[in-house]
């Protein structure tokens, strides 16, 4: 069994296929389950037994290219082609020995459609079910294929709330459905591959990226499941959850929950001597307060606890003991604020000493002068969102 999901997103359409086949058959990756035709305007996902898929794939490729050999691809013509005599002939040819179903995703200039090829069954010696490929030209928002009804219904319910997802959200939803279906169904793998068709290009998410998404989604599922479990155990908790969710309590931006401030406190007794580094750094961080004396820094932090976003400390301020004491004082005052230690070099023992006092990150002074992005990331000044890394297959 294979799970193929097609979804409309805010910027095009995407199709995902699980990778279960790769372990059982001569097809080495799921890539061949997602094949693209006609200058990448059409992508198909298949489910069925392997040898049949190969035959059907080649047959379809022949028909498509014959139909569009002279003319340029356009979506309307493609829709008509699926109802044409050639296509019907094709389904007749295959209905005797094929166990197959699939999805076609087609798009051009920002317009896209999902077609479902209805299953063509041959189970054992009995031929039953629909014995014709019937492309239904209903305008699907989303569809799951591979004869797993629950997946489609879950998706339809999601769309019924008028939520057209972004690409990233759609991939997460695909990951969730793949994971859930893989739990309940043998032969469906939780790892999957995605190809997206947007107005400008064809993109793919490679396996290591979808694996990350899958892992993230599992955590989300386990988290929600635990909450669901709690609401049955504890009536008060369920009441709280309902008010919290429906009053939009969870929609507060994450920044405000963590910290209100923007100020970065910098402590370095050699501040004036290292003008090169600091001129650049202070341009990057407009809200920085620089101190040369630890006691001054501590008193500032005490008075402006709410404003502080992070602390950047030199490895040795006056003496190493003074630095360590400063760190201890600061940890008590602002336990959740990230502290970064900078230095020319670090010994292993030192790293441990600092870590014990709540230092989360270290940065080399040489890097401070060079790598701007790294500085901002280390000081948590940029949103540290892990974005999905899409690979471009083709640009239109």
């Amino acid at each position: 069994m294979t799970l193929i999901i097609g979804m409309k997103t805010t910027d095009g359409v995407l199709i995902s296929a699980d990778k279960a086949l790769s372990t059982t058959a001569r097809i080495s990756t799921a890539r061949s389950k997602l094949r693209n035709y006609l200058d990448s305007h059409v992508i198909m996902g298949f489910s069925g037994s392997v040898s049949d898929i190969q035959g059907v794939e080649n047959g379809l490729e022949e028909i498509f290219s014959a139909y569009f050999r002279q003319n340029k691809f356009n979506l309307d013509a493609f829709g008509k082609m699926l109802f044409s005599a050639e296509f019907k002939e094709f389904s007749k040819k295959y209905n005797a020995f094929v166990n197959f179903s699939g999805l076609i995703v087609a798009g051009e200039k920002g317009n896209s459609k999902i077609y479902k090829i209805f299953p063509l069954y041959r189970n054992g010696v009995y031929t039953w079910g629909t014995i014709e490929i019937v492309p239904r030209e209903k305008d699907y928002d989303c569809i799951g294929s591979g004869d797993i009804a629950g997946a489609t219904l879950l998706l339809e319910n999601f769309y019924s709330q008028n939520r057209i997802p972004t690409k990233e959200e759609a991939v997460r939803l695909c990951a969730l459905i793949n994971y859930l279906v893989s739990l309940f169904t043998t032969g469906v793998s939780s790892s999957f591959e995605v190809v997206a068709l947007t107005e400008k290009n064809v993109l793919t998410l490679p396996a290591d990226e979808t694996q990350k998404v899958s892992f993230e989604v599992r955590k989300i599922w386990n988290f929600t499941k635990t909450l669901g479990y709690q609401t049955f155990k504890n009536l008060d908790f369920s009441k709280w959850l309902i008010t919290y969710i429906f009053n939009g309590g969870h929609k507060k931006p994450i920044k405000r929950m963590k910290s209100k401030g923007n100020t970065i406190v910098i402590l370095d007794d050699m501040y004036k001597k290292q003008g090169k580094i600091y001129s650049k750094l202070l341009k990057l961080i407009p809200d920085a307060k620089v101190f040369e004396n630890p006691s001054e820094a501590v008193s500032y932090i005490k008075e402006h606890t709410a404003d502080i976003k992070g602390i950047l400390v030199d490895r040795v301020v006056k003496s190493k003991q003074a630095t360590l004491k400063f760190l201890e004082d600061v940890r008590e005052l602002v336990p959740r604020i990230p502290i970064v230690v900078m230095g020319q070099k670090f010994a292993e023992d030192e790293l441990n000493e600092f870590s014990e006092r709540g230092v989360s990150r270290f940065i080399l002074k040489s890097e401070l002068a060079q790598d701007e992005e790294k500085i901002l990331k280390t000081l948590q000044l940029t949103e540290d969102k892990e974005k999905m890394k899409w690979h471009v297959i083709k640009e239109f």
Binding site: N123, F158, I220, T224, H250, M257
Partner: protein
């Protein structure tokens, strides 16, 4: 239509007492088959009750099974769960013979479920039993669900919901209120992703040799349906919100901490 059966456990003065909750929606359209009948709770016996909750199947076949089970209770003088268990092999044999006939009648080539139902029994001593019966063209099974995690679902013969339940219910012991809520929750949640299910639900509780029916109207009056549904929507909404923006999970955790709610 979907049927749910859950075994619950309650502590009474150091003694564990078990009972059975069975629930079903009132639709008859789930399967497009002729002669399908509206799901009913057939109470075979009032005292020391035995209740059959029929699921999918033709009415004639289901009635036949019901009569056979009722006859079995009468002929073998079944008065409690223990005597039922003692005579169970006999019932199993009788039902197996019947099933062979129906399998032959339907023809082995026809895939799919011929009939399925849940059977719940309870006695005064505080014991409860739940059985799931299913006959397909490949064979038949009669499975006791009491000692497994404690639930059973008939879902047109598929085991997907059963697996989902196993995923949800890690705790083998759940109380009566929880069991009723779970049953209502499952039916409502499944209704959201299944076409042609009715929103009207009936619940039957078998406990200490007595049987009580909570019809849909009563569930509505109690506010149980609405409350359970609100919870389901809250979790569902949150799941999709987190999928949209995973960092929201952090906010929810902060929120839980702020009310002092525990999170496992």
């Amino acid at each position: 239509m979907i049927n749910v059966g859950i075994v619950f456990t309650e502590k009474l003065k150091k003694k564990l007492s078990t009972g059975v909750v069975m629930a079903s929606d009132r639709s008859a359209h789930y399967m497009l088959t002729k002669n399908i009948r509206i799901p009913t709770f057939r109470i075979l016996k009032e005292e020391e009750p035995a209740v059959v909750l029929t699921g999918y199947g033709e009415s004639a076949i289901l009635s036949d099974y019901e009569l056979k089970i009722a006859e079995f209770f009468l002929q073998n003088n079944i008065v409690d769960c223990r005597s039922f268990k003692n005579k169970f092999p006999l019932l199993y044999r009788q039902l197996a013979e019947m099933s062979q006939f129906y399998i032959h009648l339907q023809g082995k080539g026809n895939a799919g479920v011929i009939a399925d139902f849940l059977l719940g029994i309870s006695d005064e001593k505080g014991l409860g039993l739940l059985y799931y019966f299913m006959i397909t063209s490949q064979g038949f099974s009669l499975e006791e669900l009491t000692n497994v995690p404690g639930f059973g679902v008939t879902f047109g013969g598929s085991n997907e919901v059963l697996m989902l339940l196993e995923e949800l219910l890690k705790d083998p012991y759940i109380g009566e209120r929880e069991a009723i809520e779970y049953a209502v929750f499952i039916l409502q949640a499944v209704k959201d992703i299944t076409p042609n299910m009715s929103s009207q639900l009936d619940v039957v509780v078998l406990k200490k040799g007595k049987v009580g029916i909570i019809p849909d109207e009563e569930l509505d009056k109690m506010g149980l349906k609405a409350h359970v549904y609100a919870r389901w929507r809250a979790i569902y909404t949150m799941l999709f919100d987190i999928l949209k923006e995973p960092s929201i999970a952090g906010n929810v955790i902060e929120g839980i901490k702020s009310i002092g709610g525990e999170q496992k």
